[in-house]
Symmetry: C2
Subunit: 221 residues, 2 copies
Amino acid sequence: MSNTHSFTAENYLKAIYHLSTGNNSVVNTNQIAEMTSTKAASVTDMLKKLAEKKLINYIKYQGVTLTDAGKNAAVNIVRKHRLWEVFLVEKLGFKWDEVHDIAEELEHINSESLINRLDDFLENPAADPHGDPIPDRSGTIHQKKLIKISDMHQNQSGIISGVSEHSSVFLKLLEKMGLTLGAKIRISEIIEFDGSIMLLVNDHADKTISREVAKNILVML
Amino acid sequence: MSNTHSFTAENYLKAIYHLSTGNNSVVNTNQIAEMTSTKAASVTDMLKKLAEKKLINYIKYQGVTLTDAGKNAAVNIVRKHRLWEVFLVEKLGFKWDEVHDIAEELEHINSESLINRLDDFLENPAADPHGDPIPDRSGTIHQKKLIKISDMHQNQSGIISGVSEHSSVFLKLLEKMGLTLGAKIRISEIIEFDGSIMLLVNDHADKTISREVAKNILVML
DNA sequence: TTATTTTTTTAGATTAATCTAAAAAATAAA
DNA sequence: TTTATTTTTTAGATTAATCTAAAAAAATAA
């Protein structure tokens, strides 16, 4: 269980993990370079090292997948990241758009007892401030079924429970419109012209959001 | 104010800071090598870089002192270390002998708002779990006057308020003997033979400690 | 004050992570 | 199925932090 991976290797594993969602289980060099803000040549070098450590399955020119060990390591980093985000928002009073970069640093602190105690201190939260599920200490992720607002139909209602875009500009916009986690919404109209959506937020007056915004808000029905 | 110093440079600054206590304001290469667990040659290399960045005053063969900028950086790391230690003990329930290594990692997280919010969350503690003073956000250290038990005389009493040895074995020993921060002690006898000391702890039965132990416990009269 | 010892620095390598530019492989287009 | 394009890898450098061994300076002892 000893986490002897470097800060840097951890970032690559995390990138591979986030890129291998659902259908796309195999990840390419360029995607990783993009996500880690490095160049393809640097990625190739690191892939060799990660393969050496049996954290990824790597075949030249064919892309990579995580091994069980690699997936464990990645999930553990995600767990740490999300728990720290909860801490920053719930205990220190940061806004949900301010915590990503700090959690990005905190996620590399290596202490299993620290993170498990933090988990308990926060009362074992199920999700981070953006609604993303927090893996439990065994690495299991309990993901609730959420749908995009853009996939809802007229008169359907639900509770905002997540976002799929984490940029500060986007989160601040949602904040301003009252579209925060826990808000109850109901689709009042879908505009035919451009697909923008009118909705009631917490039974208050209609607000209109673009299709682009609607695609990035996740709702529990 | 931007903390763009590497993890490693920060550790050297911290080492120099801790070595330049009171009388010994000039610090030597070998002392730094010892404290950072590196070799003298590595220290020399780093000293050149720190001098380049105006964080230390360095003259070949003569040792180093911190510049104001270097001292600020060092004090800031100490502030972060001690605040995190308070967090670990007060909020997460760690013992005072368990927090050093974790704080050693946490102290390198760079976010001024994080540390100031943490400070407030902890209600601006004056000292860490070992009694060491926590620099305030301006960098000022309010150090209480403390004396070693080994410097006390018979019948004198005081409150244990700090330790000058932070090893786990030592702290566990104190824990076991009830010699923890806040305990009230009274010197009942100083044994002539070997200088060991008998004392009352919180008005309970006499305990005896060696001179060596007594030298490392600090008391407020 | 000269000789010896200790401390510090320099010289030259090593390792990890990165880069650019060029070569090789895979994919897409004609 | 050739040709062109894109993706990926290799080759060769660079930077930061470290090391060992040897040289230089400073401190200590004879």
